[in-house]
């Protein structure tokens, strides 16, 4: 057998099962006289299995398997070619009307079923822009034909609904890519019956490495891992397959396990036959730890002291020391400031400082994260005196508050469900508007608004009081009526109950399946550059975590330890897994998800700028901040908006390198993507050049100290790269300094080359 048994027995649906499934949507039923007549006159059609063709469970499934109702085809908001279906079969009532009733039913011809447009077009007997969707006399064809021949009945009131799907295998590690993997999909219906619906299911792989045919047979095209979202009607089931090269000689080799993180990660690596990289050396570790915890690299002195320290427990000691520094709270505050939209136009300068200061203080005091979240979610009062109230000051309408709170505190992206039921998860429009109603009562007493641009309704300058009217609800646009406020597990909000206090309780309940997992996922992302769920705020049934047990364990451990952020960070950083080198070996070169090595990534804009300023030993100016302020200490985005004062080169550097404008509640707004314009900034831009040529920078001081070339080269390496030069580097640098007739300029060139080295701007 080339195939391993699954070595992890998780239920991928578990997260979603913790909330009971949604009640079916209440949509008024419109009886169609003609359809009833047709039913009365028509013979009962049968499927190949001997069961009558059902509109609800067969025809609707075919519209999905054939791709008719995809967003790019007839599921488009405007339809295609004058024919519109509900997106992905979201709304069977709508689709029944579209098929059987619209345009006097010209799409179907019960007298001559084979002449129906519904059959002629997808089989390309008539021109069809969407191409051939199925063959003449295929299963799809016969289902549609029999349904038409049977008089196009809608069995809305008699068809059982599908209550769950079971797909086997649900997880599998496959050695090699030659063997096809058959998937079997079984549906359980509301009448208790079960049926194999493999040929009526839709298979959507997360990565284009597999091909899945209509019978559910998976063929891999290359090695890798894939999640296949299996869908039948409104039920989904994720299947995870890992195709690994056959490694008959594989023997586990790895560092000793230090804690549960190691145990869980290494167990997974063993099952995937991946050998982790070795633990990194001290020079790499010290830089990594400073960057991850404080947002800037160590000084040359700090790096050297750590590397030369003989203590065997120095890594843990360093982590502990850095966790207690003010820089830790400052760096954490940046991440939260991004998510909480801490920017000056809407919060004003004072609001930004108060709110950012409050966040930083919570981090410095190690405020338990559940309490931190509760304060934000239930916030109210003066935006000056009670800083968390700025959470709502920044988000002026209920839908934005609802979407953002779901994303920031639960890792759920509900936005899809605003216009139609979520295509990749179970969230319905009822869920969406019920959740939005919870936020409807937030309102503002604007004590003053001294904004400079009277046309700009986003701009506020002055104090506001956030207050709550618990009776308010949002209008559900489908009904025009108030949507009853309810949480995402459908628990209703009691009348008169303070909606935000109830919400804060609900979000931070220890059994809430999302909050703690999202918090530890964010920590994992900070330390590994990638979440266990990725994107980190997109927890979704069809986007399962890469290592569910690890996510669960971290979340449980986090809750058990009082939602202590430092505890989780410390636990992870003291693991061998965190300390692995980024240099790959033959077995893990292709792995970027299982933490078998550190993944190389570019520093954040603030990290990079602070690192440059620190290495050169010259301060960077920012509009509205005193000299000596580091980029990681900046509270907002632009203390003085570019419209009123030209940004400094430092301000421009931050934007160019991807500091977000903080207009979204998404981690994705921050960009660490390298660009050509950034490279030009480093090569020929004014910022770096001005710092490098300042007479009073580090080089200037060293040269006037009378330091010799050898000393300068060695100190530069430690200062900029946190390591000594290799022999070759030292020779090259010394050679360059000696041959130069302008020593200062040559030193600048050398310093530039270190600042522009890959290992400077990349965290490895």
């Amino acid at each position: 057998m080339p195939r391993n048994d699954p070595t992890f027995d998780v239920t991928p649906q578990r997260l979603c099962d913790m909330f009971p499934p949604s009640a079916s949507r209440a949509v008024s039923h419109v009886p169609f006289l003609l359809a009833v007549l047709a039913i009365l006159c028509a013979p009962t059609p049968v499927t190949a299995g001997g069961r009558p063709v059902s509109f609800r469970t067969d025809v609707m499934a075919v519209l999905s398997t054939a791709g008719c109702n995809q967003g790019t085809c007839h599921g488009n908001a405007n339809g295609k070619g004058g024919f519109k279906l509900s997106l992905r079969g979201d709304d069977p009532d709508f689709d029944f009307t579209a098929l059987a009733r619209d345009l006097s039913a010209r799409r179907v011809n019960p007298a001559q079923p084979a002449d129906s447009l519904l059959l002629l077009k997808p089989t390309m007997q008539l021109a069809h822009e969407g191409g051939r969707r199925f063959e003449f006399d295929s299963l799809e064809y016969r289902i549609l034909r029999d349904w038409i021949a049977g008089g196009m009945r809608d069995d809305r009131d008699t068809a059982p609904s599908v209550t769950s799907l079971q797909v086997t295998p649900q997880e599998l590690i496959v050695n090699g890519i030659d063997e096809p993997v058959p998937l079997r999909v079984e549906a359980t219906f509301s009448d208790g019956s079960t049926r194999d619906v493999t040929s009526l299911a839709v298979f959507e792989p997360s990565e284009p490495i597999v091909d899945i045919n209509r019978d559910g047979i998976v063929s891999a095209e290359r090695y890798g891992e894939v999640t296949i979202a299996v869908r039948y009607l409104n039920q989904r089931f994720p299947v995870r397959l890992a195709y690994i090269p056959d490694r008959p000689d594989y023997v586990w080799e790895g560092p000793d396990e230090r804690n549960e993180v190691d145990r869980l990660v290494f167990a997974r690596l063993k099952s995937l036959k991946i050998t982790p990289s070795p633990v990194c050396d001290d020079t790499v570790f010290v830089r990594r730890a400073y960057l991850d915890l404080l947002g800037h690299p160590p000084t040359g002195e700090e790096a050297r002291r750590f590397v030369e320290d003989p203590s065997p427990s120095k890594r843990a000691a360093l982590v502990e020391e850095l966790l207690q520094r003010p820089g830790f709270a400052e760096f954490q505050a940046i991440r939260w400031a991004d998510l909480l939209r801490i920017e000056e136009k809407t919060l004003d300068r004072k609001g930004v400082e108060n709110f950012h200061g409050w966040v930083r203080q919570q981090m410095a005091r190690n405020r338990p994260m559940d309490e931190f979240a509760r304060e934000l979610i239930a916030a109210r009062g003066s935006t000056y005196a009670s800083p968390p109230a700025n959470y709502y000051r920044a988000m002026r309408d209920p839908l934005m508050r609802a979407e953002s709170t779901a994303q920031v505190f639960l890792g759920l992206r509900l936005q899809c469900a605003k216009c139609h039921n979520h295509p990749f998860d179970r969230w319905t429009q009822d869920d969406y508007y019920g959740w939005a109603s919870v936020f409807a009562g937030v309102d503002y007493k604007i004590l003053e608004n001294r904004r400079r641009d009277r046309n700009d309704k986003h701009e506020f300058v002055g104090e506001q009081i956030v207050w709550i009217d618990p009776a308010r609800r949002v209008k559900d646009p489908r009904t025009g009526k108030d949507a009853p406020a309810r949480f995402l597990d459908e628990a209703p909000l009691a009348d008169g109950e303070d909606p935000l206090l109830a919400l804060a309780d609900w979000v931070t309940r220890p059994d809430n399946p999302y909050f703690a997992r999202l918090m530890v996922n964010r920590v994992w992302h900070q330390l590994f550059g990638r979440g266990l769920v990725q994107p980190i705020d997109d927890f979704r049934m069809t986007n399962p975590p890469v290592h569910p047990e690890l996510l669960d364990w971290l979340a449980e451990d986090f809750v058990a330890n009082g939602y202590d952020l430092r505890h989780t960070i410390r636990t992870i950083m003291n693991s061998a897994v965190y300390q692995l080198s980024s240099e790959p070996n033959d077995t893990n070169a292709g792995d970027e998800t299982h933490a078998s090595r550190a993944v190389v990534r570019r520093l954040d804009a603030e990290q990079l700028l602070d690192a440059i300023a620190q290495a050169i030993g010259a301060p960077v100016e920012f509009n509205g901040y005193p000299p000596g302020t580091r980029a990681t200490q900046i509270a907002g985005v632009h203390a003085i908006r570019p419209r009123y004062k030209r940004p400094t080169p430092g301000d421009e550097f931050l934007m160019l390198f991807g500091k977000p404008p903080r207009l979204q509640s998404c981690d994705c707004e921050r960009s660490n993507e390298p660009t050509l314009a950034q490279t030009f900034e480093l090569i020929s831009g004014p910022m770096v050049d001005r710092l490098l040529t300042r007479p009073d920078n580090t080089l200037g001081r060293w040269l006037s100290d009378g330091r010799g070339n050898e000393e300068i080269v060695r100190d530069l390496y430690w200062t900029v790269l946190s390591r000594p030069p290799s022999k070759m580097e030292e020779d090259a640098a010394l050679g360059y300094l000696q041959q130069s007739d302008n020593r200062r300029a040559a030193c600048e060139d050398l310093l530039w080359s270190l600042l522009n080295a890959a290992e400077f701007s990349l965290r490895r």
């Binding site: 030369e308 979204q664 020779d731 990349l762």
Partner: protein, 475 residues
């Protein structure tokens, strides 16, 4: 990979070759030679820098010159004259016949009148966004904004500029930039959305030049070095940088590191390349040509646009002005409400119409004479038209419900009018076209399928253009 390094000081690297000082010198020199030799861009541009899934566009248009008339020109006083309408509608300006029968133009566009046989007009443009920033976003991306907001915020949730889409799906692979925008970042109170790549990623932002092409010292800032730096020193720096990179071996195993290194290579190549520098070198044009385009920021911007498409740039955004303007005869855009006791007609007669009449025909003729017009789509448009009814200030206000767009070259018909406005130019009478359709038309002409899917920050799929190509304008 069997030996793991526990906590310890760094090991001397076993594979390090020891180098004598003289060798270093030679090594450095060899590297300089390599850099110098790689001078021309195409040779060094790694595949990594190309967009994934790029399909070389194979439409009739190789390039687009998008002349954005910020502020909103009046359709009734330029290309959709209504001489038979009541005085309070038709305004004080007369129409003159053009070389195309039935396609009269404003009396102040006599040079345009001679080249109307090269253009297609769409006189039935329509949308409902009444504010400059929301309407401009619509015009610059082809996607309707979520709200008609006078200060629509420029967030990454909004759709990318046309040129960024082109840079993503049909980029230049010969080292020339794909998308260049100048000479302003336009703003109305706040930065106008639609000028950058938003969720496609910063790598697809335009090469943005905020210098005045009419300035005698105009040059691409990226290609200018600080006073203290020359190319020789830069090459020394690069050589030293490469020695460091070799030690850490990051380039061996990190695609991110290689990607960044490729940008260094590309940037240095651009600094060395004559081709990029030349494309931006307006001094290479004879004075007579520069004069013909007009010695104005906009005139020289249009000349630069011709040089850029000639050298292969795929999408050029030229912004007529940095602001909506409308109250000055010497600066600003087309937003002539007559506020503050200004009046529309004296202003557009003094500024907007003469500049347009000098520059646009010159550009079209120049492209045509060089055989470039058939492969270059010129788009002349604003965010909306202006109210058919003259207001109390003897001026016109915003009117998105009906306006005119001018297209030329790049596979559209010559001397053709598509769609019609009603009697007073108030609403489209036949063949309404939305910005969504215009977007689909442009992408089609560039050979990019308008249904090509992009994903927003929430990973939701959208077609790059939400409308349908206006095939009626295709030549």
């Amino acid at each position: 990979m069997s030996d793991s390094h526990p906590d310890n000081t760094p090991q001397p690297r076993a594979h390090q070759p020891s180098v004598a000082p003289g060798q270093v010198d030679r090594m450095l020199r060899r590297r300089f030679l390599q850099i110098g030799g790689a001078g021309f861009l195409g040779l060094t541009l790694p595949r990594l820098l190309r967009a994934e899934g790029a399909s070389a566009g194979s439409g009739p248009a190789k390039s687009v010159i998008f002349l954005y008339q910020f502020g909103g020109p009046s359709h009734l006083d330029t290309f959709d004259m209504k001489p038979d309408a009541a005085e309070g509608i038709r305004g004080p300006l007369s129409s003159i016949p053009s070389v195309v029968p039935g396609m009269p133009v404003c009396e102040h566009l006599p040079e345009m009148a001679k080249v109307m046989d090269k253009v297609t007009l769409i006189r039935s443009m329509h949308h409902t966004m009444k504010n400059h920033n929301s309407a401009s976003y619509y015009a610059l991306t082809g996607h309707a904004p979520p709200v008609d907001d006078i200060r629509l915020r420029d967030s990454d949730e909004l759709f990318p500029a046309y040129g960024s889409i082109v840079d993503r799906f049909s980029p230049n692979t010969d080292g020339m930039p794909t998308f260049v925008a100048y000479p302003h970042v336009i703003r109305d109170g706040a930065i106008t959305p639609g000028q950058r790549a938003t969720f496609l990623g910063k790598a697809h932002d335009p090469l943005l030049v905020t210098e005045d092409p009419n300035d005698p010292n105009f040059a691409l800032p990226e290609l200018s070095l600080p006073d203290t730096l020359d190319v020789g020193r830069l090459q020394n720096r690069r050589a030293l940088q490469q020695i460091v990179n070799q030690q850490a071996r990051l380039l061996d195993y990190s695609a991110t590191a290689r990607g960044i290194d490729a940008y260094y290579e590309k940037a240095l190549s651009m600094l060395n390349s004559k081709r990029v520098r030349d494309a931006f070198d307006l001094s290479a044009e004879p004075d007579s040509v520069r004069d013909r385009y007009g010695r104005s920021e906009y005139g020289q911007s249009c000349l630069l646009a011709r040089r850029l498409v000639e050298s292969g740039v795929r999408f050029v955004n030229v912004y007529f002005s940095s602001s909506i303007g409308g109250q000055s005869k010497t600066s600003g855009g087309w937003d002539t409400h007559g506020f503050n006791n200004t009046r529309m007609y004296p202003i557009i007669k003094a500024r907007h119409l003469p500049i347009t009449d000098q520059t646009l025909p010159t550009l079209l003729n120049d492209l045509d004479e060089r055989g470039l017009l058939d492969e270059t789509l010129v788009v002349w448009m604003g965010e909306f038209g202006r109210t058919p009814k003259i207001n109390a200030n003897i001026s016109r206000d915003h009117w998105p419900q009906c306006y005119t767009v001018l297209l030329a070259g790049g596979g559209v018909k010559r001397g053709f009018a598509y769609g019609e406005s009603d009697r007073n130019g108030t609403y489209p009478a036949v063949d309404m076209v939305r910005p969504d359709d215009l977007a689909a038309t442009m992408f089609s002409l560039l050979g990019i399928d308008p249904e090509t899917e992009i994903r927003d920050p929430l990973d939701r799929p959208f077609p790059i253009a939400a409308g349908r190509p206006v095939t009626g304008v295709f030549a």
